[in-house]
Amino acid sequence: MFRFLEAAINSKINVGAAFCRPHIFLKMKKIENENEELEVDELVYTNEDENEDENDSILEVGDLVLGYDGKAITGEISFGINEGDYLCIIGDNGTGKSTLLKTILALHKPISGWMDLVPSRKEIGYLPQQNAVQKDFPSSVFEVAITGTLSKNKWWMPFYSKEQKEDTKKALEATNSLDLTDKCYRELSGGQQQRVLLSRALLASKNMIFLDEPTASLDIDASCDFYETLKKINLEKNTTIVMVTHDIENALKHSTHILDLKKDGFFFGTTKEYQNN
């Protein structure tokens, strides 16, 4: 099923038609009030009756149109990845890379289309772009990283368990930042901060993390270091990675799949196919 989808996209057949199964195909109504609560859950369909286990599909997106205030900023985007894949989303500014990521993460409402994210939201990790608040936030590295485990707490469990604290130390170790544990987060270098946020994302996720331009403000050494850590996590734990990036060189070097968003369409395929193109 998945290969068929991939082939369909590459040969630029209308994927919507190829995918037209009524029980998972859903055209969203035009959004009338964008201030309503995000209810993307109703978009998520796990189609258990389909026999797709053979290729471990973890995320599929079909005919997704992104936009703000009811105005589309992209055409229809369709792609799908399997467990353990390393997808880089590239493209010029304004082509909707970050918006795509936020839409998949239910932080933003799409104009139309459907998607199928197999793990629950409590099983994914996210490394967002840094916001202004964080740059001057008095908190220790440990306090920041351990918030990644919060999604495992039920509402009546307000405090962290010993196990969560130990998991946090392990996650900091996995990103080579155990020595930063008691440091003040705002006094770290950009590269160190990103490694801490990566630990937090790892703590929140079972086997899938989303990253939004994690190396945008890093120098070359720090960003190479970051990509190596990420590759290690991808290979050792078979963690699926979906990353928005500007850094095409590193994207091609490490990823297994590329989604290239353009003003007038998109390319999706394996990294090899992209390089041959």
Partner: protein, 284 residues
């Protein structure tokens, strides 16, 4: 001149101390996420809304003003903080407009109703409502009970959601993306801010409530480097400033609320210097 021990023989002094300390403590705790989220000015706008609500209460002739001011302030807090970010009504122009409009409408209404012979409006002490006055020295045990209950509620809620308010303040997108109810936690923060503003108005007056909320947090941020320490230092600063300020005001017969805030300003100045020296020492 009276000594402190002479004053402490009276019930009113103890009542004032209890209410002052608890109000300052709850204000200081909620002040930390508020300042970090860059909502300090929203707190100020809210206290003006609280003033307007107070004038409503006075004109209607409600005995316990909190019954009117608290729901209205909480509603305004939720509108400003919870929905402000999304609808962009939290911009500084809107906040300034809201503050001034609330002040003007409140003052206007009081004057109109005084002229029309509204008894409670004629007795209304504007200066005391704006700057606190001596209301805290004239409390009844029932009023103390209400304040203690509210403050206890704020502190317990704050402790229960401590880790979550931290996570939401640091990065609400992350919380939401990982399937947690970031909206609910922001709503809780907003509601607590509303309660605290209404509560502290009777102590320091509407114009100065936001000082009670933001100063201890800002002082603590000068010296503390983890979120936990910021909260602890902020609470200590607030409680000791309230204790010292109220006792001092009794000795020199100044309005207690204003005195506490002046103490807070001085503490901030000291912490600021300590912070600078501490950082210089680290570098050498």
């Amino acid at each position: 001149m009276l000594s402190i021990f002479d004053i402490l023989r009276f019930d009113f002094a103890w009542m004032a101390l209890i209410v002052a300390v608890l109000t300052a403590l709850s204000a200081a705790l909620i002040g930390v996420p508020l300042v970090l989220k860059r909502y300090s000015f929203s707190g100020f706008a809210l206290s003006n809304v609280s003033f307007m609500a107070m004038t409503f209460a006075v004109i209607i002739g409600v005995n316990n003003n909190l019954l009117i001011t608290m729901p209205l302030t909480v509603a305004a807090a939720i509108l400003l903080i919870r929905f402000g970010e999304r609808k962009k009504i939290g911009g500084d122009a809107v906040l300034a407009m809201l503050s001034i409009a609330a002040l003007a409408i409140g003052y206007f209404l009081i004057n109109v109703f005084t002229v029309r012979g509204n008894v409670t409006a004629a007795e209304f002490n504007i200066l005391a409502t704006l700057f606190g006055g001596n209301a805290i020295m004239e409390l009844t045990w029932a009023q103390v009970g209400i304040s203690v209950g509210m403050a206890a509620g704020v502190v317990i809620t704050f402790l229960f959601f401590y880790n979550r308010t931290f996570a939401v303040t640091f990065d609400s997108n992350f919380m939401q993306a990982t399937g947690q109810k970031a909206n609910v936690y922001e709503l809780i923060i907003a509601a607590i801010v509303g309660i605290v503003v209404a509560l502290s108005m009777q102590f320091v007056g509407s114009l100065l409530t936001s000082a009670l909320i933001i100063f201890p947090a800002l002082s603590a941020m000068r010296v503390a480097k983890s979120y936990k320490k910021v909260n602890i230092v902020s609470a200590i600063v607030a409680v000791s400033a309230a204790l010292f300020g109220v006792l001092f005001s009794m000795l020199i017969t100044s309005p207690p609320g204003v005195t506490v805030i002046v103490v807070n300003v001085v503490v901030f100045g000291v912490m600021y210097l300590v912070g600078i020296i501490y950082r210089k020492k680290l570098k050498t």
